[in-house]
Symmetry: C2
Subunit: 391 residues, 2 copies
């Protein structure tokens, strides 16, 4: 198991079984070919399941997580899970995605650091962490690993594949790469291809990590505890955190207050923090205790490379491969994945003759509303899953 380099109590959960998490390893015998003309051996994916697969294997739902998410979509906090599932209010017995009815699966993505193979995993050649040797991967690679997991689980066709943000990218790739293995799709607050502005936000985070001398070109795994690239990761996270939220909610929550109850009456200091800075620092601190910097880079790059049209004669013909009912959702206050991107998905599908409904979440919270305003997110999903079952 990889030595913990985290500042205090945290640890990556590579190889650290917890809760009902399970592990599936593919491609031990031969390389798993990647989108980028490279390959990996010993690809492991960590996953969790809730509910039971029915006899006809027709009730399986795949949940896809976002950038720093993990397989713990539902369930309580516990050993290996610092928090309750990130969609625990939606997934469970009697909940909108009812695990008394559905067999729900969520897997940590390839490149991640929560049990699946990623840069912190050991390289089979020398048993040392991959670090800078880990290849650039794409959303398509993540999905192709999930397809192997589906085989392993005996799921030939998912009743639905559901996810927000980067999870929604995986949803679209599922529908395009494996059109006959899905019965419906729910891409939320996501896009068919990353825009220049989205790439720019990602690039700033990358550059902040590059600027951190403790990143050591990605080979920092033998550093002393506390000597890892946490500051660079924290700055990268600040950028993301601002784009995940919204101007108006920041104004309502933080205004121009100073942190720690300070006032400006006694003069000014360069590093005196406003309350919003304390909030951003808090989120940075939380992330570095649970996430590996190289995974952040690798997964971020995969999002920047996301373009369902690449190698498929462009967006229109790629989206036309999707042949199943789709529910896409947007958030009017989302500055990172503006709602025009989800309406574009809807328009492309409808133009191709595929049924697609667009639902807009009326929330001021920005991009993160898909994790916050579950009272608006859940009902359309619940109704959609049911309607697909009746078709």
């Amino acid at each position: 198991m990889t030595k913990s380099l985290l500042p205090a109590t945290g640890a990556w959960r590579t190889g650290d079984p917890a809760g009902n998490r399970q592990f599936f390893t593919i491609a031990v015998d031969r390389p798993f070919a990647l989108d980028g003309a490279t390959s990996l051996t010993h690809v492991t994916t960590a996953f969790e399941t809730w509910g039971a697969l029915d006899d006809s294997a027709s009730n399986a739902i795949l949940i896809c997580h976002a950038w720093t998410g993990d397989s713990h979509a539902a369930g309580q906090a516990g050993r290996g899970h610092v928090a309750a599932g990130w969609w625990d209010d939606i997934i469970g017995p009697g909940k909108p995605i009812d695990t008394n009815r559905w067999f729900v699966v969520c897997a940590n993505v390839l490149g991640g650091c929560q049990g699946s193979t990623g840069p912190a995993s050991t390289h089979p050649v020398d048993d040392k962490p991959y670090g800078s040797r880990f290849p650039v991967i794409t959303i398509r690679d993540m999905v192709r690993v999930q397809a192997r997991l589906a085989d392993h689980l005996g799921v030939d066709v998912w009743h639905s594949v559901i996810g927000g943000s980067m999870g929604g990218m995986q949803v679209l790739e599922w529908g395009i790469t494996y059109p006959h293995r899905v019965r419906s799709l729910v891409p939320i607050a996501t896009c068919a291809q990353a825009t220049a502005q989205q790439i720019a936000w990602g690039a700033i985070g990358r550059r902040a990590i590059l600027l951190d001398p403790r990143w050591r070109s990605g080979d920092y795994y033998d550093a002393e505890p506390g000597d890892g690239p946490w500051e660079g990761l924290a700055v990268a996270r600040m950028v993301a955190q601002v784009t995940f939220r919204s101007d108006n909610v920041f104004t309502d929550r933080f205004g121009r207050e100073l942190a720690d109850g300070a006032t400006l009456k006694d003069g000014f200091e360069m590093w005196q923090r406003f309350e919003v800075e304390r909030y951003l620092d808090h989120h940075g601190d939380k992330l570095i205790r649970r996430f590996d910097t190289n995974s952040y880079l690798i997964i971020g790059k995969a999002m920047d490379l996301h373009d369902v049209g690449r190698g498929r004669n462009g967006l229109v013909s790629a989206i036309a491969r999707i042949r199943v009912p789709t529910l896409t959702m947007g958030i009017w206050s989302d500055m990172l994945y503006p709602s025009y991107q989800q309406r574009q998905i809807r328009d492309l599908l409808v133009s191709a003759g595929t049924a697609c409904e667009y639902v807009e979440i009326d929330s001021p919270h920005g991009h993160d509303a898909f994790l916050i305003n579950l009272d608006q997110v859940a009902p359309p999903i619940e109704a959609f899953l049911d309607s697909v079952a009746k078709q």
Copy 2:
């Protein structure tokens, strides 16, 4: 003169007379008191003028520059000026701000690095650069230095004070601090107080600079050439540059193209740049050749501290001190200073019984439209200056 630490050919222009730039030094004999309960001695301000002050000293217009701007608002490139004036299309003989009619003044702000006293200037005590010893300053301090310059120039009342972005913050402070020294105001793409989101963007830039080991807590002026905190400044500039522009223009200009004509067909590399990254790097490179990192920090902090209501019983009563006609302009695509902030200025002024017109610039270019779409910016200003003259 401070030794050049810049990567290649650039140099700060402290003490480096160029073009028609002039220098005015105040407070040699006694400290110049600052907003933050500290003081500075030997405060010098670099400024340029165009046109001639008339006999009644009634035709003077002050132009206030933005974050990385300088006194060179008009005129050609030349010694000490790497580019033509930043508003050269607006200011000059026969131009909308006609220097055959108006006496136009623009001064480099306090804390700057283009001739005015800032962190790269020598401390009078030891003749070494201020560096980390430079105090935190505010927009009010910048304006109070400009008022001393006005005294020096024989300008008791400005016909107008005009500026965009941070320049607009100075415009508002002029109207509030010196209501009897202005005849009109033109604040553009600016705000009455910085919001939490604006502070957050600023904080990310600050943190990127802090992350650069070459910043050396601000005391880097004796570093070898090329060993200054340029990478941190470049990352800070990336954040600013994205917020200065817009999603749609980034999509139109860069899309998902790779830099240097590369393609993704041969695989992926973590540090292979998209075209938008090349653009951001280019702007970072340009900035580090002409701007001091500590000035960037000091001026950025001044913007975060900007709140016309501080110590004045809040926004409403502060804005009510303005008693002169005001033209405020916004840009619908501005994500950094959204147009609701300029409409707020208009609403507060009108509520206080002061004439204020709001003009919206119809540009997709985002915040920087006030420097780009001069065909839309100039006519309302020209008409406004004329109407004020006739009152």
